[in-house]
């Protein structure tokens, strides 16, 4: 049973077509593996070097924030979102914890501070 996976428009450059895709699997991890088999350019953008969901990427299964072990039902919808970070040391809280928002502290991109 395939489920719908929606990706942000900004990631459309990494796929063969569109922002709406179909994939199969009983967990989010399995769905992503199936999706990456047809859209391999997505993997690097959603997962980090350790195979974890990137720190600033949020994935929802049926409107609830998901991790790779989250079960996926036959009629589930999966939405990939670009996170907006805040807080202090950790850009995003661990799954299930309380966000430590204490003020605006957007992601610092040091690489562009060279001129």
């Amino acid at each position: 049973m395939s489920v719908t996976v929606r990706i942000p428009r900004v990631l459309s450059q990494a796929v063969t077509s569109g922002v709406r895709h179909q994939a199969e699997g009983e967990t989010l991890a399995a769905v992503l593996v199936d999706l990456f088999s047809r859209e391999p350019g997505l993997e690097n953008h959603l997962l980090d070097e350790g195979g974890r969901i990137r720190p600033h990427v949020l994935i929802f299964v049926d409107a609830s924030r998901a991790d790779l072990d989250t079960p996926v039902g036959p009629s589930s919808e999966i939405q990939v979102l670009q996170a907006v970070s805040g807080g202090q040391e950790s850009p995003l809280p661990a799954f299930g914890s309380t966000p430590p928002f204490r003020g605006r502290n957007p992601v610092v991109d040091r690489s562009w501070w060279d001129g």
């Binding site: 900004v10 990494a14 350019g41 953008h45 980090d48 070097e49 990427v57 690489s111 060279d114 001129g115």
Partner: protein
């Protein structure tokens, strides 16, 4: 007909000369930083993209407008605690395409950039635990090669040279002041902040270096460096370029590390026709209006025909077609410019 690729903080643009005007196409890669351009030995164009959220990408194109992503861009091996933050530069070495990245590393591709392998001899250099980032991060931003040697410039670390096709690498920074060592203190092996690096293709061991600490040259492949700032208004900056035929040098001084804009707001390139022994303002055409803007370390390119173009952090492009004798500011504005490439 000249074409110029411009990589910015928000996408890439292709400028095509059309009579006295420039036809601008783009943005390509909307929403993405475009950080480097290259070309494979097969002739395909390569572009690097980056995102604070979605990592980096490598894309290929035959016509500069339609781009196809690589399925396997450079990535650190699983288990590494390093982040793949940005691709800073591409370089052709024989049949290989090399990429310099942040966090600092060198990657090699044998298939035109479709897949990449880390160059562990440099990436895991015995000094690696002493590599620490500067204001520009920890990036391998310049690769040169010639006469059997290769050089890699790494911000806040220094220049490394390999004379055995990348099997071993030796730091080459003698004569360069360290970024953070007090005068008279013991010289560290690494910790030298190279910003720009150029050499003479006909004599690859003749090198010029825009460093955090000033402007230097070497006539022995980097074994020794000497300061050459006569005529420059400041020693700081990011740009260093050598024309292959006339041997003219161009650089673009900025006031200081703390104030990375032209001295007194007078933006201009400086040229040297005596291997850097003396410098003068390059030609005419510069704006009389204040130009408090910077030029990033990969935001320039030159060709063998006398064209040289640079982009500013304020999003403007400056072009000379006669090696710096006359300059024009192109009539367009872009987001912060990170990469410029003149394409045939």
């Amino acid at each position: 007909m000249m074409r110029i690729l411009v990589g910015t903080e928000k996408g890439a643009y292709l400028l095509t000369e059309s009579g006295p005007e420039w036809h601008v196409e783009g943005p390509m890669f909307p929403g993405w930083k475009v950080t480097a351009f290259g070309q494979t030995t097969g002739g395909a164009h390569v572009a690097a993209t980056g995102s604070n959220w979605f990592g980096i990408g490598v894309h290929h194109s035959e016509n500069l407008l339609d781009w196809k992503p690589s399925d396997s861009p450079p990535t650190w091996p699983e288990g590494s605690d390093r982040k793949m933050e940005q691709i800073w530069t591409f370089h052709n070495e024989g049949d290989r395409l090399l990429a310099g990245v942040a966090q600092a590393g060198l990657f090699s591709s044998d298939d035109g950039g479709m897949s990449w392998d880390p160059v562990t001899s440099l990436n895991e250099h015995r000094t690696r635990d002493q590599w620490t980032p500067g204001a520009g991060g920890l990036c391998a931003h310049r690769i040169l090669s010639g006469n059997g040697s290769m050089w890699v410039g790494i911000s806040a670390v220094g220049v490394f040279r390999s004379d055995d096709d990348g099997v071993t690498w030796v730091p080459k920074n003698d004569g360069i002041p360290s970024v953070d060592t007090a005068e008279g203190g013991e010289r560290p092996e690494v910790g030298y902040c190279v910003h720009g690096l150029a050499h003479d293709p006909a004599e690859p061991s003749h090198m010029w270096r825009q460093d955090h600490q000033g402007v230097f040259r070497s006539t022995d492949g980097g074994d020794n460096w000497e300061r050459i700032e006569d005529g420059l208004p400041a020693g700081f900056g990011f740009v260093m370029w050598r024309h292959p035929d006339t041997r003219r040098l161009l650089t673009i001084p900025l006031e200081s590390s703390e104030n990375r804009v032209p001295v007194d707001g007078k933006l201009s390139a400086y040229a040297s026709d005596d291997d850097g022994s003396s410098w003068r303002i390059a030609g005419s055409g510069w704006s009389d209006a204040p130009q408090f803007t910077g030029v990033l370390r990969r935001a320039f390119d030159g060709d063998g025909n006398g064209a040289f173009c640079f982009g500013t952090s304020g999003g403007k492009l400056w072009l000379t077609r006669d090696l710096g004798d006359t300059w024009q500011e192109l009539n367009a504005s872009f987001p912060r410019i990170a990469a410029v490439s003149i394409v045939a």
